[in-house]
Every structure is written in structure tokens, then in C-alpha cells.
């Protein structure tokens, strides 16, 4: 009997071992790196444990049935049992109790995760004390606007660790969904309304993940849905403040330094600036912000959200965007020679608000 007890525990231990530490720390929901993800992970473990219990009971009955009740002779006629009230009540009531155990924390967590009251509280300036980020999802890129700080950036979300960050979420073309697996569950960006939720980024876990988390679009949005990634730089509060200040200090487009880059800037101003801003102010209306803001482009972690950030990849991306992200909105919007693209690349690599 003791042995059986140990064997029964085996799947339990196995499940917890399987759940913990699966995948990469920058992408896996099984390595929670924040309050929201932790709450969700705890619910996962609780529900898994209850369910493993159910599976264990069914498995035991199943094995007994399979072993004991095989047909032994052709003529045997088993007793025709109608049912059993005791058993039926038992397997109705016990599941109800198990579900109650699960339902209470579920409802409580659902309300906690939806509590965005701090972002509604405004101080004298009409701004909230909490950090708010307006996320705008587009085919196939992400814009992050900091309304209190009055700046805009794209593709790389920069956030402070150790505090609640509040999000306004919406889409400008078709529905997308905003998801940073290690930090918390997703929320859809609708075309009809603004959704709100919050996340918290754990400082220690952010270090473990190398300071960068991967974000994904989780709602089918067209051919390049799979490539609509973004990155999250989770910084200590001081570094975050520094980044904000450095961004805010850019009020005019930064002049390129080398001759190549200056040529590139000129081409950029003729061909690209209609869609891509190189100043971070959020004063232009949303409709005019047709492409990702490139103010801090030189510090991006990846090109187009998916390619390693180097000159080679920027050139490839600019030469033939369609081959990198099918269905993107930049294809065919400009006509530049290889030399011009080289120059623009030089210019773009120099766009850094921080060294």
C-alpha cells in the first residue's frame, strides 16, 4: 500500500517538474517574471494538481477494469446492473466541491487583474501618478506611447521593473493581441474600443532573462502574424527615468555626423519621413503616425522585430521588405537604389538617444 502511495505521487511530481522551467526565460509562461504571471502560474499549478488527482482516480479504475473484466468465456453473461445512487451522488458532489476550490481563486484573480483604478486617478496636471503606456497595434508593428511623458516609441517597449505598469490597448487596422508570456497573459487590441490592464516586471527575473522579454501578437492578423514580435526592455527605475529624459531631450531630428549618414538623412527626409518620425513627441495625431517611430532605432534589439540588429539585415529589410514580412505596409512605398539604401542604413544606425 505504501508503495502504491509513492507511485501515485509520481505523476504529481512529474507534472510540477514539467511545468517549472520549461522553455526560455524570455518567452515562457512557465517561468513567471512578474506579479501577474505569477498569479496566473499559481492558478495553473492549482488547477493542474486538482486535475491530476482526477486523472489518477480514473486511471486506477480504468486499469482495474482493463485487467479484471476481460471476457473469459464465450457464454458468460454478466449481471445487468442498472446503476448505483450512492456512487452517482458521490461522483456528482465531489467534482462540484473540487470546482468550488478552483472557482474562488479564479474569480478573485480575475477581478485583481482587471483592477486598473490607479490609471484613472488623475493629479492636478491631469496625469496619472502610475506609469501608463498606450499600446497601438498595427499590421505588423507595435507603437508604445507614454502619455504622461509625452513621448512615442515603437517595437521596443521600455518599462521600469518592480512597479505596476498600466496599459491602454487598441488596434488601428485589424484586431491583434498583446502578449508578453513571461510577464503576464494577453489582452486583445480591438478596433472598436480601448482595453486596459496592468503588468508588473520582476527585477530579478528580468536580469535572468537578460533584461529583454519577447512579446508576441496572439491574434491572427494576416500573413505576417507569426512575425509580429516586439521586445520589452525592463530597466531599473533610475535607468528608465534616464531613458525617458534622453528621449524627451530630442526635440529636433538629430543631425547625422558622417558624410554617408548625412546623405542618408537627406534621402530619409525625402522618402521615409512621411511615415516614420525621428522625434519622439506625441503631438502628431495617431493617423499620421503610419510607420514605427525611429527616434531610438540604433538601440533596437532586432530589425523588423525578428532579424538580428545589424547593417546587413537593415539593408535586406529595406531592399525587399516583402521577403522579410509578407503583407507589410512598407513594400512599394519608396524606390531607392542600393547605394541610397546603404546611406539610409548608415543614418538609421546612428539614431540613438543613448550610447
Amino acid at each position: 500500500m505504501k508503495r502504491l502511495g509513492k507511485w501515485r505521487l509520481l505523476p504529481l511530481i512529474a507534472v510540477i517538474a514539467l511545468l517549472a522551467g520549461c522553455g526560455e526565460p524570455f518567452l515562457s509562461a512557465l517561468q513567471p517574471a512578474g506579479e501577474v504571471a505569477q498569479m496566473q502560474y499559481d492558478l495553473m499549478v492549482l488547477s493542474t494538481l486538482i486535475m491530476v488527482g482526477v486523472i489518477a482516480i480514473v486511471t486506477v479504475i480504468f486499469i482495474v477494469v482493463m485487467v479484471r473484466f476481460r471476457r473469459k468465456s464465450k457464454d458468460e453473461i454478466p449481471k445487468q446492473v442498472e446503476g448505483s445512487h450512492t456512487l452517482e451522488i458521490l461522483w456528482t458532489v465531489i467534482p462540484i466541491l473540487l470546482l468550488l476550490v478552483l472557482a474562488v481563486p479564479t474569480v478573485s484573480a480575475t477581478f485583481k487583474l482587471a483592477d486598473v483604478s490607479s490609471m484613472e486617478k488623475k493629479n492636478e496636471d491631469g496625469k496619472s501618478d502610475a506609469l501608463v503606456v498606450n499600446v497601438r497595434a498595427n499590421l505588423y508593428w507595435w507603437e508604445f506611447e507614454y502619455p504622461n511623458e509625452e513621448i512615442v516609441t515603437s517595437q521596443d517597449l521600455v518599462v521600469p521593473t518592480g512597479e505596476k505598469v498600466y496599459f491602454n490597448l487598441k488596434a488601428s487596422d485589424v484586431k491583434h493581441s498583446f502578449w508578453i508570456p513571461p510577464v503576464g497573459g494577453k489582452m486583445d487590441t480591438n478596433t472598436d474600443n480601448v482595453n486596459k490592464f496592468w503588468l508588473e516586471f520582476d527585477p530579478a527575473k528580468a536580469d535572468e532573462a537578460g533584461g529583454i522579454f519577447y512579446g508576441k501578437c496572439a491574434e491572427l492578423c494576416g500573413p505576417s502574424h507569426a512575425l509580429m514580435d516586439f521586445k520589452v526592455k525592463a530597466l531599473p527605475r533610475a535607468e528608465f527615468d534616464q531613458w525617458i529624459a534622453d528621449m524627451q531631450s530630442v526635440t529636433e531630428p538629430v543631425q547625422a555626423e558622417t558624410a554617408d549618414a548625412q546623405a542618408g538623412q537627406e534621402i530619409f527626409n525625402n522618402s521615409c519621413i512621411g511615415c516614420h518620425a525621428v522625434t519622439p513627441a506625441n503631438t502628431t495625431p495617431e493617423q499620421a503616425r503610419m510607420g514605427p517611430n525611429l527616434t531610438d532605432f540604433g538601440n533596437r534589439t532586432l530589425v523588423a522585430g525578428i532579424l538580428e540588429h545589424n547593417e546587413e539585415n537593415i539593408k535586406n529589410w529595406l531592399k525587399d521588405p516583402e521577403s522579410v514580412k509578407p503583407g507589410n505596409k512598407m513594400t512599394g512605398k519608396y524606390n531607392l537604389s542600393d547605394e541610397e539604401i546603404d546611406a539610409v542604413t548608415q543614418y538609421l544606425m546612428g539614431l540613438k538617444v543613448q550610447e
Binding site: Q40, S47, V54, V107, T110, F111, W179, G185, M187, A226
Partner: protein
């Protein structure tokens, strides 16, 4: 009129099937058409798994992949699983209640042809500029933004085949309410008949919201309406509601008949009556009812707010209770029984733990706060394949082996059947179990590729290997069907030897009028009761008399063909000048066919008593 038992030419057979109103022949048509679409959907699944075998794969392009994933889901749900189940319902349910046919044989044929023409229309998109690419859910903002005619094929095709399904559902409801043999009370109906009944009620209430949703979508895309355009006062979330008010009951429309099939098989091959029959019936009805209360659990991340999310979370969890009751009742039917592991029984036995895994992940998904992590990831993909493949497809494969002798009078090879079973079961778990973890490790669903170094390589290659196992299993099943049909060794009434319900009391395949005399039903498992008393057949409930039968008709085919033509007209109306005339022509074909049906008296025909007696003598001689 009664031309059965005569050898006929190919043309005559074809015409017979084009005009048939016999539920058994319509069942065969459903199986052939559904089987064809099942293979097609399976090929699409293989394209998906090959593309995802390795990171950054270029087997198919991004846009084509979206078409394949959309068509895989749409085909499997609407054109494979549901028609094949409707096929088994048609083949078996009237026999189980001791009826000579369904209530409306003409409508039965119409339902099939509408489904087939809708399905063909949808699949013609592959050759006419590209298939739909917004997923089987076709969420409004994306489906309105989608270029070309793919989504129009989706909307019009599903509309036509949806009418067919709705007609089929109503027909079954009326049949079960009105046409049960003497003594066949509701609480003596076999579980498969009960699940057919509840699934048909679900069809009746679930398909109208889909019809409305697709109507809106069609008018937005083709006729300039703005139901889903937020800039014009429309709302895309409405589509999500309409779709899931249909979509969630839809999964119960699929799984309840599967439950019914397994209840029959488990009881038969355990030689025991179903444990807790009345609680099984109660659980079926309760699942059907609750199925309408939970649709918003597909929309936890849409932003409905914590109150709606909590209510729908708890309601969803509640469904686990009746489902659990069923699992335990199946186990206790086998407990104390005398189990024989035939191919159908192997499927039934393996279904219990496989479906349980799908069920428990369902409860996990109901935890709204945690669902924010699971939603739209491979965890969900794993979950619904565990319930649909581990439930519905296993049931379809089991029923194919179980009812094959009843439908065709010959047994599928058991040895090949068991090989198919093991390959399929192993392949199924290999493909889908690992996907739970892929989802939790950060892999969203519906992605055409994934990037290297994100920890997703191993899981995906394992999953692809599993898919090949399932493909080989299906090929062996097809070989089995061919071999069996060529050999054509005829079997008797009750080929499995353990039949319990009425269908096993008559010949395999049954004569076209089913029961010469309607049987007298004396309890649950009526044939088993008679067998236990040493009798070979049912006691008749009526003296031998003339049997009234319906005439064949070509009109159902024409009504469906008209809508098929009209759909092309509607779709190309804005592109070509012939669009509008074709639309009108198609509708005219349909309306005139309906008019003909209305004014032409068709009283059917009678099989005379003398013929029935002659036939009896002929068989004995």
C-alpha cells in the same frame, strides 16, 4: 417501383443515389462526401505540420499557410466531422427507434445536397483566386480586410451548407418525437438516439446565430453594409458573440453524438446495460443546455470585463460535472462486465482517458485569469484537438468499424482495423500532447513559422512525426475499406454477436423499408431482452400489412444546385456584368424547384403485403 435486389447499371445506380430519399442511402452519401472532405482536411493538416516541422521553414508561403489553416478548421468541423456524424445518425437512429424512415425523407435528401454543394463551393476557392484566410472563426476586422474572394467563399459556402445542417437537425427532432416504435418510450431510447436528439436540438438553436452572423458578413463584404465597421457605427465584437453563440454549442453538436456512439459500443462489448442510464440521459441534456451558457469563455481576452469573465468562467466549470458523470458511468458499465476487445471497443476504451485529458484542460481553460496565458496559444490547439480528435474522430473511426456491417452487410478486417487503431492513437498523443507545453512556452496559434532559439524546435518536430502516424493510419483504413468491399463476405443480422438495440434485429444491410412489421419494444436494450429469453427476433407490434413508402425525387438536388449557382452570381456581381443575371438565375432555379415540389402531388407508393410474403419465401428458399 421496388427495384431493390436487382442488378443495375452504373448509370442507374448513380441516378438512384442522386434522387434517393432513403435514410440508409443518404447515410452512405454523407459518409462518402464527409470522408472525402476528411481526407482533404487531413492533407491540409499535413501541410501545416510539415511547414512547422523546423523553424524558419519555407515549405509554404505565409499567405498560403493562412489559407490552409483556415480551410483545415472549416473543412474538418463543417464538412467532415458533422456530415460523417449526420451520416451515422441517418444510418442508425431510425433503425434504433424502430422507424421505417425519417419523418421527412425529402428534406433529408435536401439537407445532404445543400451540405454537399456548400462544401464544394467553399473548396472551389482553391482554384478561383485563393481560399479564405481569416481562420475558421473569421473574426470580423480581419475577414473584412481580407482581399480577394476567399472570405466570400467562406460566407456563402457555409451559409448554404448551414441550411442543410439546420434542415437535417429539425428532421431528426421530428423523427425521434413522432416515429418511435410501439413501446419505445423516451427512457428506453438507446443513448445514441438520445444524443442525436439533443444534438439536433442544439443545431436548431445554434445555427440561426451563425446564419445571422454570416448574413451580416456577406452583406458587409458584397453589398456595402457596415455591421462590423467600427468607423461607421458597426462593431466587430458582435461577430465574436454571434460566432461563439453558435461555435460553442457546435462543439457539443459534435461531441454528444460521439458520446452516444461510445455508450453503444461500451455497453455492447461489455455485455452489460449502460450503468446509470437515466443519469447519462440527464447529463446529456444538461450538457446541451449549459452549452449555450458558456460561449464567452472563447472571448476572455476580448475585454468584456471581470464580471462577465467570472460568470462565464464558473458556468464553464459547471459543464465538467455532467461530463464527469459520463466518464464514471462508462467506466462502471465496463466494471463487472465481460469485455471483448474488438476494434470499435479498442477505440471506445482509449477514448475514455484521451477525452479525459481534453476535459481537464477544458477546466484549466475555464480559469479565466489563467486563460489570459492559454488563450490563442498551442495550449488551446492541444485542448481542442484532444476533445475533437480524442472524442469525435475516435468515435467516427469506432462507428465506422462498428456500423460498417449494418450499413454494407460486410465486416471490415479486424486485423487491419487494430493496426489502424494503434497507429492512430499513438500518432494522436504524439502530435498533440506536446503542444500543451509549446503553448505555455510562448508559441501562439495560427503562426506560419517560428524562429529558431526560442525553445520551440523539439516540440514541433515531435508533433510533426505524430501527424505522419495518423496519416498512415488513415491510409490503412482506406486500404481496409477497399479490401473489404472487394471481398464482400456477407454477414447476418447481429455480426458482433452482442447487439443490444433494434438495428441488430434486422438484416445487414436492412431492406429499404427497414422493418417488415414494426417491433414491440419491451424495455431498454430491446433486442438483448428478446435474446436473453431465447428468441431470435423481435415480437412484431402489428400484423403484416402494406407499407407506405416515399418516391425518389431529383428536386432536392435542383434546389441545392440553384443556390450553388446563385452564390457565384452574388460573389462576382461587382466584378463582372454577368454576376447579377447569374444570381437571379440561380435563385429562380431554386424557387421554381420549390414551386414544383409544392404543386406536384406526390403520394409515394405502397409495398403490398403479398410482395413482402413472396420476398420472405424467396429468401428462405
Amino acid at each position: 417501383m421496388s427495384t431493390y435486389a436487382q442488378k443495375k447499371g452504373v448509370g442507374a445506380v448513380l441516378w438512384d443515389y442522386l434522387t434517393t430519399v432513403d435514410h440508409k442511402k443518404i447515410a452512405i452519401l454523407y459518409l462518402i462526401a464527409g470522408g472525402f472532405f476528411f481526407v482533404l482536411g487531413g492533407l491540409e493538416a499535413m501541410v501545416i505540420r510539415i511547414q512547422l516541422a523546423i523553424p524558419d521553414n519555407n515549405f509554404v508561403s505565409a499567405g498560403f499557410y493562412n489559407e490552409v489553416l483556415t480551410m483545415h478548421g472549416t473543412t474538418m468541423i463543417f464538412l467532415a466531422a458533422m456530415p460523417i456524424l449526420l451520416g451515422f445518425m441517418n444510418a442508425v437512429m431510425p433503425l434504433q427507434i424502430g422507424a421505417r424512415d425519417v419523418a421527412f425523407p425529402f428534406l433529408n435528401a435536401l439537407g445532404f445536397w445543400l451540405f454537399l454543394f456548400g462544401g464544394l463551393f467553399l473548396n472551389l476557392s482553391w482554384f478561383l483566386g485563393g481560399a479564405p484566410d481569416a481562420g475558421w472563426t473569421s473574426y470580423a476586422s480581419l475577414s473584412l480586410a481580407s482581399e480577394g474572394h476567399g472570405i466570400d467563399f467562406y460566407a456563402l459556402g457555409l451559409q448554404i451548407s448551414g441550411f442543410g445542417t439546420l434542415i437535417g437537425g429539425i428532421n431528426f427532432l421530428v423523427t425521434i418525437i413522432n416515429m418511435r416504435a410501439p413501446g419505445m418510450t423516451y427512457m428506453r431510447m438507446p443513448l445514441f438516439t438520445w444524443t442525436t436528439f439533443v444534438a439536433s436540438a442544439l443545431i436548431l438553436f445554434a445555427f440561426p446565430p451563425l446564419t445571422v452572423g454570416i448574413f451580416f458578413l456577406t452583406f458587409d463584404r458584397l453589398f456595402g453594409a457596415n455591421f462590423f465597421d467600427p468607423t461607421m457605427g458597426g462593431n466587430t465584437v458582435i461577430w465574436e458573440h454571434l460566432f461563439w453563440i453558435f461555435g460553442h454549442p457546435e462543439v457539443y453538436i459534435l461531441i454528444l453524438p460521439a458520446f452516444g456512439i461510445f455508450s453503444e459500443i461500451i455497453s455492447t462489448f461489455s455485455r452489460k446495460r449502460l450503468f446509470g442510464y437515466s443519469s447519462m440521459v440527464f447529463a446529456t441534456v444538461l450538457i446541451g443546455f449549459l452549452g449555450f451558457m458558456v460561449w464567452a469563455h472563447h472571448m476572455f481576452t476580448t475585454g468584456l470585463g471581470p464580471i462577465a469573465n467570472s460568470i462565464f468562467a464558473v458556468a464553464t466549470m459547471a459543464i465538467a460535472v455532467p461530463t464527469g458523470i459520463k466518464i464514471f458511468n462508462w467506466l462502471f458499465t465496463m466494471w463487472g462486465g465481460s469485455i471483448r476487445f474488438t476494434t470499435p471497443m479498442l477505440y471506445a476504451v482509449s477514448f475514455v482517458p484521451s477525452f479525459l485529458l481534453g476535459g481537464v484542460t477544458g477546466v484549466m481553460l475555464a480559469v479565466a485569469a489563467a486563460d489570459y496565458q492559454y488563450h490563442d496559444t498551442y495550449f488551446v490547439v492541444a485542448h481542442f484537438h484532444y476533445v475533437i480528435v480524442g472524442g469525435v474522430v475516435l468515435a467516427i473511426l469506432a462507428a465506422t468499424h462498428f456500423y460498417w456491417p449494418k450499413m454494407f452487410g460486410t465486416m471490415l478486417n479486424e486485423f487491419l482495423g487494430k493496426i489502424t487503431f494503434w497507429l492512430f492513437l499513438i500518432g494522436f498523443h504524439l502530435t498533440f500532447f506536446i503542444q500543451h507545453f509549446l503553448g505555455l512556452m510562448g508559441m501562439p496559434r495560427r503562426i506560419f513559422t517560428f524562429l529558431p532559439n526560442q525553445g520551440l524546435e523539439v516540440g514541433n518536430v515531435v508533433s510533426t512525426v505524430g501527424a505522419f502516424f495518423m496519416a498512415i493510419a488513415v491510409i490503412i483504413l482506406l486500404i481496409n475499406i477497399v479490401i473489404t468491399s472487394v471481398k464482400n463476405v456477407k454477414v447476418g443480422n447481429d455480426p458482433w454477436g452482442d447487439g443490444r438495440s433494434l438495428e441488430w434485429a434486422i438484416a445487414s444491410p436492412p431492406p429499404f423499408y427497414n422493418f417488415k412489421q414494426l417491433p414491440l419494444v419491451r424495455g431498454l436494450d430491446p433486442y438483448w431482452i428478446e435474446k436473453m429469453e431465447g428468441k431470435k427476433e423481435m415480437t412484431p407490434a402489428e400484423p403484416l400489412g402494406d407499407i407506405h413508402m416515399p418516391n425518389n425525387s431529383f428536386i432536392p438536388f435542383m434546389i441545392s444546385l440553384g443556390l450553388f449557382i446563385a452564390a457565384f452570381g452574388a460573389m462576382y456581381r461587382l466584378d463582372y456584368s454577368w454576376g447579377l443575371p447569374v444570381l437571379i438565375l440561380g435563385l429562380l432555379v431554386t424557387l421554381l424547384s420549390m414551386f414544383t415540389r409544392s404543386i406536384k402531388d406526390d403520394h409515394g407508393f405502397h409495398i403490398h403485403k403479398e410482395d413482402l410474403i413472396d420476398e420472405d419465401k424467396g429468401r428462405k428458399a
